[in-house]
Amino acid sequence: MSQVGARAAKENPVLKALSKFSKDFMSVLGIIFLGAILSLTTEKFLQWDNLKLILLQSSTVAICALGQAIILLTGNFDLSLGRNVAFTSCLGALLMKGMLYDGMAPMNPTLVILIILAAGTFIGVCNGLLTAYVGLPAFIATLGLQNVCYGLAKVITNATPIATFPNSIAWLGRGFAFPEILKKNLPWCVVLMLGIYIFAQFIFTKTKLGRNIYAVGGNKEAAFFAGINVKRYTFLAFVMAGFLAAFSGVVLMSRLNSVAITNGQSYEFDAVIGSIIGGISLTGGKGRLIGTMFGIIFVMLLFNGMTQWKVDAFMQDVLKGIVLVIAVTLDVLRNRKRV
């Protein structure tokens, strides 16, 4: 049956184009579809404030998810990203407020941001070294770092939330681009998200770095025999992801104006759901990074919808798990080879 369908799609140019579009941008179709249902079944959904909130919530997850997507492209997986967000944002909070140790003076916020970006990148470096150069399975290496990050976050904060940061960083998470012209309708963090994704999309389709990462994920051995430094590119993917996780931490810290060790919890899983819905393949080497952004927006839309539909918060976790499994199943079906 499916073969008949495939043949029909091959022969009809309109169907062919449509089939290609739906394959490439399944997430966009999903957003439209889900959005339509939500606007019909709930009152609040279509209100601009709600839509803005969805985009706001998407931005931090999406920035972190970009890192996961890059790692997925190499055929690996990073479990530590969410806890990386927690650790870096907690560290940032303590440094900014001068609470890391007794008698510490508050530090310059810009300097703090640089420090925690470096800290997040360092976690990526650890993951990359262990996976690419030492040869540990990514699953184990990043699981280890996940616990290290979470533990460190608990140690330094004593597991208590910290709130209110200097106004100078407020624009990142709570500010608006061109407030006069756009009447506070375009949050900076959404602009950041868009900017980063467009930049990454460009880098990954148009430069050696990107092409080689795709090649490594597509077939490690063939990449090696084409003279590509497989270890280096695998390493770099983890480093980039570490940086992006920390960046996501910075934005999150500013957006919530408070941090807690639960920050970024399960971001790595949301990222996988988003990436796969966005067309990135779990087996590596396949998919567009920009799709991940749409995938994340789809996921956030779904969560928002569940709240609108008054689905119990605990139940939402159950549904999230189901969505992850469905997403991966779709990926497997999509990549099923003809025997």
Partner: protein
């Protein structure tokens, strides 16, 4: 009775895939208790036909009669199995860490009265089957500890254990050495004498003449003919396969040999390579012969900096080199077409042009940006140079036939323009037409003043193409023969 004389009868089998008719009204019969060879170029439809027999694909049209049952259609591999058809695939499909006996009984375990697995009986039966075939394999050995040849024999034993009536062997010889092949032939003949019918697929025509009773030729999905092997000549068979008479098979030309470009002195890799020295000159085609585990690939890897040398020196263009990795060697003008094109040669999910531009990505980058226009231009240029048969440049290489895949691998190294190119089993499992293209390119390369090193198990191609042939055995150099000195017997004598 017809039913008894023929175990398998195909009538008008047709199978289409989007854009291709893989099989077009194929009809022929297979006599019970014969070795029936199936030949054709890549893309001729052999694999599709086998997959229909194995229950993986289903014919769109036509009828299949098997073992006295009319109009059978195997909906799943399991049904085909139940009916008595066994397939020994080119890629071995055994569970590596399990033992020989365990593998032979996978999915077919024998139980004791208590419902427990009866290892004693199974091992006994496994031993019996192996002994009957006249070979020596320990049933308790893990499959991973066996050579490829023995693994293949285990596959056959598995089929024998399941009491298969028809055994399909898909290029069993591709990875075997001559001696292993003899053993394999013995087994196949023995099976036939016991009444098992064998469909044997191979690209090596010599084997077909040595082994098969009947031969069926497919071309472009059509049945060209089924004849007794004794009634055709080699040239006639090739003509049937390609639809035209091939010109000279080995386009060897006399080329002025230049100075030495690559020299290896006393190469040692503990346990793998023992004190190997040789040198290759500009414009030469240098062959390396030997059995599969003789260290040929390892030698190439050592020279290219992929594996560390324990001692020895490599000189390129008279200068001593010390490559720390394959990338250094590439930058120095060396290249390698690896032996496993599927795993090492290509990114299967990428399209043709992306694969072609993978080694020499620099060539399509301007100001740090990969230019689509250049990718298209070079992709087209090199695909054309190699006469890759493809729907379009955007086709993923996994959908190409083996021969065309290999052409893409060669294309990417041509684009890199390496001065010294090592080809490791460049023609394994590819059809005569594609082989001819590869040989033509080797000749063209040396004509341009480059140097070609060919590692191959196929003696005729080494004898046909090489200026000198080095023979290796168990990590040692056993000898070197010039084109004039070399013949099959002399190489064989050095090989073992």
């Amino acid at each position: 009775m017809m039913e008894n004389e023929y175990i398998l009868r195909l009538q008008g089998i047709t199978k289409s895939f989007p854009g291709v008719k893989a099989l077009d009204g194929v009809s022929f019969d297979v006599k019970r208790g014969t070795i029936h060879a199936l030949v054709g170029e890549n893309g001729a439809g052999k694999s599709t036909l086998i997959k229909i027999l194995a229950g993986i694909y289903h014919a769109d049209e036509g009828a299949l009669h098997f073992n006295g049952r009319d109009n059978v259609a195997f909906r799943t591999p399991h049904e085909s199995h139940q009916a008595g058809i066994g397939v020994v695939h080119q890629e071995i499909k055994l569970a590596d860490p399990l033992t020989v006996a365990e593998n032979m009984f996978v999915g077919n375990l024998v139980y004791t009265k208590l419902g427990l697995v009866d290892w004693k009986t199974m091992k006994k039966r496994a031993r019996q089957i192996i002994r009957d075939l006249g070979i020596d394999i320990d049933v308790n050995a893990p499959v991973s500890a066996l050579s490829v040849a023995k693994q293949q024999i285990v596959e056959i034993c598995k089929a024998v254990n399941l009491e298969m009536k028809l055994l399909i062997m898909d290029e069993p010889s591709a990875t075997l050495t001559e001696r292993e092949l003899e053993i394999m032939f013995g087994i196949v003949r023995k099976l036939r004498d016991e009444g098992i019918t064998i469909i044997y697929i191979s690209h090596r025509l010599d084997e077909i003449f040595e082994l098969a009773d009947m031969v069926t030729v497919l071309r472009d999905g059509k049945h060209i003919g089924t004849v007794p092997v004794s009634s055709v000549t080699r040239d006639r068979l090739i003509a049937m396969m390609v639809g035209r008479e091939l010109g000279q098979q080995y386009p060897k030309e006399e080329i002025a040999i230049g100075e030495t470009v690559l020299e290896a002195k006393g190469i040692v890799r503990r346990g793998v390579l023992k004190d190997i020295s040789f040198s290759v000159k500009k414009g030469e085609i240098f062959g390396i012969s030997g059995l599969v585990d003789s260290g040929r690939t390892e030698l190439a890897r050592a020279i290219l900096g992929i594996d560390r040398l324990d001692s020895g020196e490599v000189f390129v263009r008279g200068k001593k080199v010390n490559y720390r990795g394959f990338r250094d060697a590439i930058h120095d003008g060396l290249g390698l077409i690896p032996e496993d094109r599927k795993k090492q040669g290509l990114v299967q999910i990428f399209d043709i042009k992306t694969n072609i531009c993978m080694v020499n990505l620099k060539k399509v980058i301007r100001a740090g940006i990969v230019r689509k226009r250049l990718v298209n231009r070079y992709g087209t240029e090199y695909a054309k140079k190699l006469r890759v048969v493809m729907p379009s440049l955007e086709t993923q290489v996994q959908f190409l036939s083996g021969g065309n895949q290999q052409k893409v691998v060669v294309a990417k190294w041509l684009m890199q323009d390496s001065e010294i190119l090592i080809l490791d089993e460049p023609t394994r499992g590819i059809d005569v037409g594609a082989k001819a293209e590869i040989y033509r390119l080797m000749t063209e390369m040396v004509k341009e003043g480059k140097t070609v090193i060919v590692i191959s198990s196929e003696m005729p191609e080494l004898l046909g193409m090489c200026d000198r042939i080095m023979v290796m055995h168990e990590g040692q150099k056993k000898g070197e023969l010039t084109r004039e000195e070399a013949n099959q017997e002399r190489i064989m004598a050095l090989c073992v």
